[in-house]
Amino acid sequence: MYELVEKSEVFNVHKMVVKAPEIAHSIEAGQFVIVMGSENSERIPLTVSDWNTDTGTITLYVLETGISTLELARMKVGDSLYAVTGPLGSPSEIGNYGTVVFGGGCYGIGAIYPIAKACKEAGNKVISIIEARYSSMFYHEKELHAVSDQVLYASSDGSRGKKGKVEDVITEILEKGVKIDQAFFIGCTQMLERCSEATRPYNIPTRVALNSIMLDGTGMCGACRVSVGGETRFACVDGPEFDGHKVDWKELNQRKSAYTEQETVAYQSYSHGSQVPKVGSA
């Protein structure tokens, strides 16, 4: 089960194609899975960027940020993940909006793809805007082009597309008079916040996929709770998508940083080669 059948890397973002036929059959755009590399791993929520019911596989893009994602990134083709649970979360609402803008950064470049595809199939005009530090860090482009009327780029060094970030491109096209009826953003929290602020003055309905800390992913623990419009919501079941104009970003950032200290400890123990206990020894 959950065999890793294909793997590649673009600057710290690891593409992992995993055998999970039941999930491939039941997943919808906007949903995620929770994976464990091995029996002693953390449970990590990852958006599913693509799936194939013929091969029974799902495609994940994993940003290597700490010990658990590093351990996933070290897995080889032919290895099996210990657990893949999903699909989780509520699917994206796919409507006939008109013009829909997608913004993706880091793992979000891959993660916006299935929603963009579904929106395109629903008859929308799709503009995808992706950001990276420099031109060689983009990925999943061919697929994104196939489902977008237009793909726009933003890079920190200006080596591809506009010099800047997704929100700079959005502001630019809005100022040019492009009418955007709906926006979806996926990426790191800072990017989601900045993009939401860019669409706010224009009152563009804005959905952001939040990546708060999760444990079970079924609503049982409440670790992922976020304040949206003054109400506590669970990102794992009520989300992951919420109205970007109503999210309490400060609280989300604080909650996401809760384990920074422990993550450093775990990372150091890994680099010092600590022994992993045998299954069931505890």
Binding site: A83, G86, G219, M220, G222, Q254, A258, Q262
Partner: protein
């Protein structure tokens, strides 16, 4: 040699030897060591074998208590375990986690004057189950010829395991769908190692698998498959829903979302299922609070408080709205918590959680309560005392004030009726309003006990068998009918 009633009465109750409080509060090993065979026999001799078996009627699954105890007195320990298993498939678990003082032991004639004098039914149940398991004396039950019918069980907690165990023996093909990567439900994510060693749960699950029960892990029904898919796509003939209660409740007070504020579900799942007490070898991190406040007075609150002490908290305080006598926790757990120097702030309830600029909890403001008129449950209602606020420092808050129904299954099964709180409506046998769908345990009753969930599982297994047999022609009568 037969003892006289007088001689039996003269024997004093045998407690179980335990790890001393100042040792156990730094480890996750089980607290009581268990009986020696000699202690078990002596304790069994205290039973008067009453004609009127009030103890049996005090048991939700009607374990034949005097009969199994008589076997213990004859040193027929494995036979005693087998006799219990005709009514209760998880005796090693129930001997440890049942609230005996409100069930069998609570109505024991020897405990009429003082509950502490009741025959130690729970200890004896634990002893015989452990004896059978540790000496590999478990008998593989007879499995009826496969009848070609398939039953899906959603959730591998106590009720799901019971349904699976009963139906596999009757010849059904049984498949359990478990959301987590390990089986056991609340027995593994909720109840800590020091109260219920996980190897016991594992051995129960292995035994079911040996009988042919299939368990699919990482399978969230309601997402991966809807209940209708289980019938239409996967070809099951009946479905049992035993998914537990699910969603945690947080108090509706300011400061709920500060870092350091956990649902007990999250805290215990991190420590128990994800083994973060072995961090960083196990990768799931845990916030180690120095001053920990636990909200609530049930078993989950005691488990959270005692886990916090073991993880290295300097001070743990239980904040509970009612009085000590009204705490729903098992007497032994509250007693163990007290021994482990956990402080109780009774008749108090928080009104605000304080935090710092970085978003971490720093303290709590509470209001004092007094007991007023009895409410519908017969317990005296706690009434807030005006202007009786007090504050204290805490850097971690564990919220253990109950839960709500998880809607993942009910929302995707609109033709199955729920009550106004979202719990599934069933008849006395676990039949839901949807044909051939059954439910039991916390998703029907709200938070309750392991044994009542098992009782519900047994009833539902009977109903499933009866209904499916009516549909096919064949009739099979099980021994326990």
């Amino acid at each position: 040699m037969e003892l006289t009633a007088k001689e039996r009465m003269a024997i004093e109750r045998h407690g179980m030897a335990e790890q001393p409080p100042d040792t156990r509060n730094r480890n996750f090993e089980e607290v009581p060591y268990g009986y020696t065979p000699e202690e078990a026999v002596a304790e069994a001799q205290r039973c008067l074998s009453c004609k009127k078996t009030t103890c049996v009627s005090g048991c939700p699954v009607e374990v034949p208590i005097p009969e199994f105890i008589a076997l213990v007195a004859e040193k027929k320990f494995a036979e005693a375990a087998r006799l219990i298993k005709t009514k209760n498939v998880l005796p090693a678990v129930c001997g440890r986690v049942c609230p005996q003082e409100t069930q069998c032991e609570g109505v024991c004639v020897r405990g009429k004057k003082d509950i502490k004098e009741a025959v130690a039914v729970g200890n004896l149940e634990r002893f015989v189950a452990d004896y059978e398991r540790e000496n590999n004396l478990a008998e593989v039950p007879e499995i009826k010829k496969k009848n070609g019918l398939k039953v899906a069980v959603i959730g591998s907690g106590p009720s799901g395991l019971t349904v699976a165990g009963d139906l596999i023996q009757l010849g059904y093909e049984v498949t359990i769908y478990e959301a987590f990567h390990r089986g056991g439900g609340v027995l593994v994510y909720g109840i800590p190692e020091f109260r219920l060693p996980k190897k016991i749960v594992e051995s129960e699950i292995n035994a079911l698998e040996d009988l042919g029960v299939k368990i699919y892990y990482n399978s969230v029904i309601g997402r991966l498959y809807k209940v209708d898919d289980l019938f239409n796509v996967l070809g099951f003939n009946a479905v049992y829903v035993g998914v537990g209660a699910g969603l945690p409740i947080f108090l509706n007070i300011p400061g709920n979302n500060f870092n350091g504020v956990f649902s007990a579900n999250e805290y215990l799942t991190r420590s128990n299922l994800m083994k973060s007490y072995l961090f960083p070898q196990y990768r799931t991190p845990m916030i180690i609070g120095k001053k920990v406040a636990v909200l609530g007075g049930g078993n989950v609150a005691m488990d959270s408080a005692r886990t916090a002490i073991r993880l290295g908290a300097e001070k743990v305080t239980i904040v509970y709205r009612r009085a000590r006598e009204q705490m729903p926790a098992r007497a032994a757990e509250a007693h163990h918590a007290e021994e482990e120097k956990i402080e109780f702030r009774l008749l108090s309830s928080p009104v605000e959680i304080f935090g710092n600029d970085e978003g971490w909890a720093t303290g709590m403001k509470c209001q004092r309560y007094e007991l007023g008129e009895p409410d519908e449950s017969g317990r005296q209602r706690p009434v807030p005392i005006e202007d009786s606020f007090f504050e204290f420092d805490c850097d971690q808050v564990l919220v253990s004030i109950g839960g709500e129904a998880n809607p993942l299954i009910t929302k995707t099964t609109p033709d199955m009726r729920t009550n106004k709180w979202g719990y599934i409506e069933t008849d006395d046998w676990g039949r839901t309003s949807k044909k051939l769908v059954y439910a039991g345990g916390d998703i029907v009753t709200g938070a309750a006990t392991v044994i009542s969930a098992m009782g519900a599982g047994r009833m539902a297994a009977k109903a499933i068998h009866e209904d499916l047999m009516k549909e096919s022609d064949e009739t099979v009568t099980p021994d326990w009918w």
